[in-house]
Symmetry: C2
C-alpha cells in the first residue's frame, strides 16, 4: 500500500475534481503493474496498472488507495475492469465517500467472488485525499493554514514604523523547499488583499522538478487588490463581495467570483473544482477563517530563534484559553512533528477528514 500511496502522490494537485489515486498489482510477491490517476478525463489508476500487468493480472492482488469506482463516469467502472482482468484480491486503503460509489465498488467486487480488504493504510490515504473528500462531501476545499514562526511565535519582525518587515526569512532552506512542495501539491493558494498590496508576492512554485503553480486565490471583500499585482493573472481567482465588479482584473485573466461571507466564498471555490486551499498570507485572513471554523489543518514551521516584538500568526478578539481551537485527535496520525534542517514542522488537524464508515 505504501507503494500505491507513492504512486497516488504523483497526481497530487493535478486531478481535481477527481481524487489522487494509486494502484499497485502484486503477483507471487512481485509487482506486476503500477498506475496513478494523472488528471481528470484520463484513465484511473487501476487502468494503468492493469495495462502494465497484462495477463499477469490474473490471480494478482490489487492494492488501491481508494475504493474502485462502480459507476460510469468519463471512464467505465474500475471495479468491472479489475473483475474482467481476473484479479483475485483487492486491498483498499479507504472507501470512497462519493455518493455514486460509497461502498458499492467494494460490494460489487465481493459479489464477483473477489476477496476485499478495506482500511490498510487508511490514515495516510485520508490525508492524501482530504481535498477530494472535502469537495465531494462538503462542496468546499480542504483548507490548510501554513505559517512559519520563531520559537516565540512571531511570523514577521516589525520595522521601525511598526510595520511587518517584508523580507526577513524565518525558516531555513529545507523548510522553504517543503513549502514549495506543498504549493506544487495543492490546487490553490490563498492570500488576503492586504498581503498582495504589501508584498506583491508571486505565489509560484520554485525549485520543484516537474512542478506547476497553484491557482492564486485573493480574498478581497472590498475590491482593493491592484489589477497590476503579480498574482492577478490567468488562472487567478479574486473572491469579492456582491456588487463589486473588477473588470480590469478580469481583463488580466483572473476569474472574479462574489460571495456574501467566508463559507460562501469556499463554496464558490468548490464550484471551481478547487479541492485544496493553502492559506499562506495574512494573519487576518487566517484568523477570520479560523473563527468561522473553516481551517481544517495547520502546518506550523517553527524556527529555533527568539525575536521579541513581531507579528503573530493569528489575530482576533480576546477569548479565554479554554476556548482556543483545539487540534483534534492528537495522535501520531493527526499531530506530527518533523525536523526540517534546523526548523521543526508541526502538523495538526482542526476538522476531521470526511470518511465513510460502516457499510462495507
Amino acid at each position: 500500500m505504501r507503494q500505491a500511496l507513492r504512486e497516488a502522490a504523483r497526481g497530487l494537485g493535478r486531478t481535481s475534481p477527481n481524487p489522487p489515486v494509486g494502484c499497485v498489482l502484486v503477483r507471487g510477491g512481485r509487482v506486476v503493474g503500477r498506475g496513478f490517476h494523472p488528471r481528470a478525463g484520463e484513465p484511473h489508476a487501476e487502468v494503468f496498472a492493469l495495462r502494465e500487468a497484462g495477463e499477469q493480472a490474473r490471480g494478482a492482488t490489487a492494492y488501491v488507495t481508494l475504493e474502485p469506482c462502480s459507476h460510469f463516469g468519463r471512464t467505465p467502472p474500475c471495479a468491472d475492469a479489475l473483475m474482467a482482468a481476473g484479479v483475485a484480491r483487492v486491498v483498499i486503503a479507504a472507501l470512497d465517500p462519493d455518493p455514486r460509489v460509497a461502498g458499492q465498488g467494494a460490494a460489487r467486487l465481493r459479489a464477483a467472488g473477489i476477496d476485499v480488504t478495506v482500511g490498510v493504510g487508511e490514515a495516510a490515504a485520508l490525508r492524501q485525499q482530504a481535498g477530494f473528500r472535502s469537495l465531494v462531501t462538503r462542496a468546499r476545499p480542504w483548507v490548510i493554514y501554513k505559517y512559519a514562526m520563531t520559537l516565540d511565535g512571531k511570523v514577521a519582525a516589525l520595522d521601525g514604523a511598526g510595520r511587518p518587515e517584508a523580507n526577513g526569512l524565518v525558516t531555513g532552506p529545507a523548510a522553504r523547499a517543503r513549502v514549495m512542495q506543498w504549493r506544487n501539491e495543492v490546487d490553490a493558494l490563498a492570500v488576503g488583499s492586504g498581503t498582495v498590496r504589501t508584498d506583491d508576492p508571486r505565489l509560484t512554485t520554485r525549485g520543484v522538478e516537474g512542478g506547476r503553480d497553484p491557482r492564486p486565490v485573493i480574498f478581497d471583500r472590498q475590491g482593493l487588490t491592484p489589477a497590476h499585482a503579480r498574482v492577478v493573472r490567468p488562472g487567478a481567482v479574486v473572491v469579492t463581495a456582491p456588487g463589486i465588479s473588477l473588470p480590469a482584473h478580469e481583463a488580466a485573466g483572473a476569474k472574479v467570483v462574489t460571495a456574501e461571507d467566508l463559507p460562501g466564498a469556499l463554496i464558490a471555490l468548490g464550484r471551481l473544482s478547487l479541492s485544496t486551499l493553502l492559506v499562506e498570507g495574512g494573519p487576518t485572513l487566517a484568523s477570520s477563517l479560523l473563527r468561522a471554523g473553516l481551517v481544517d489543518e495547520v502546518r506550523a514551521l517553527v524556527a529555533p530563534k527568539l525575536l521579541g516584538a513581531g507579528l503573530s500568526p493569528l489575530t482576533g478578539p480576546a477569548r479565554p484559553m479554554q476556548e482556543a481551537a483545539a487540534l483534534r485527535e492528537v495522535t501520531s496520525e493527526s499531530l506530527t512533528f518533523e525536523p526540517l534542517g534546523p526548523d521543526l514542522l508541526i502538523t495538526g488537524l482542526l476538522n476531521d477528514i470526511p470518511r465513510l464508515t460502516g457499510g462495507a
Copy 2:
C-alpha cells in the same frame, strides 16, 4: 555511562555549589558499585561506589560523569581514592572546568598507570552539569527560560479588559508534571515582581516523589513585591536596586540582595551558590534577560491549540528577523523535540555550556 548519568541525576538541585556526579564501577561485565554525590559536604560519587564495591574495585572500570577531583576540598581527592582501590580503567564523561581540577585529575590517574578515556556521553553530562559549569567559570547561574504556549505562540489568554487571564491552563498534565520535575532539579526559580503581584504564585514543587522546592528569586528593581506574598518566605531571595531596603521581606525570612543591573543580579545569585535558575514568570523579565544575553537555554512547551489574541512569550522593541537570538548548534544534542502527552517540548541552547577542551 548511562547508568552513571542516572545516578548523578539523583543529586540534581541538591549539590550546589558542587556538581551532580554519578559513578558506576564495573568488573567482569557486572556492576559492582554505584554512587552519586548527594550534597555539598558529603562524600563524592566515587567514594560511595568504591565503598559498595569493596575488594571488587581492584581491576574494575570506573564510569564517572565528571573528572575525578585532584585537590583536597572538604573531602580527599577522588583520583587518589580510585588509585588506592586498584581501579584499572577510568572512563570520564567530561573534564572538570574548576581551575583546581581542570585536567589534573585525569593526568594524576594516567601518571599512576591507569587507563583513562575522556568524552564518553559528554553531551548529556554537560547538560546535567550546566549549572555547576556556569557557576565555576562565569560566577553566575545557568539561566533557563521556560514557557508554555499555544501553537500560535500565546502564553496566556487576555480577559475582557486586555489583562492576562490568570488561570487558563495552556498545556496538559504530562507537560505540567515535567515542569514540576524541573522545579525539583533546579536551585532557584525566578519571577518578576509583576507576576508576584498579579498571580501571587506559590512556586513550589508538587507531585514529585522526594521532591523539594527550589528557592524563589524575585526580580524587583523597584521594591514593589508585597511582603505578605506567598513566595516571600525563608529561602526566598529578593533582588532589588541599591538604596532600596525591604525590612519586612527580611523579617519574613527572605534574603534581600541588591544589584545595579541584570548581570550584577546574576553574579549576586552566584554568590549565594545558586547554579541553575529557571525563569518561569513574566515575559518582561525573560525579555530583559534575553536582550542582555543572559538566557542560556529555552524550554518551550507547545500545546496543540490556536488562540488568536493573547500574551506572547517575549516582549521588547522591534528588531529585524536577522537579529533574532539564534539557538546555537542546532543538532539533536542542543535542540530537541519531545512529545509530552498532546503537547510538545522544544529545548534549545542560546549559549554554550562551559566546557574544558584540550589538555587531557
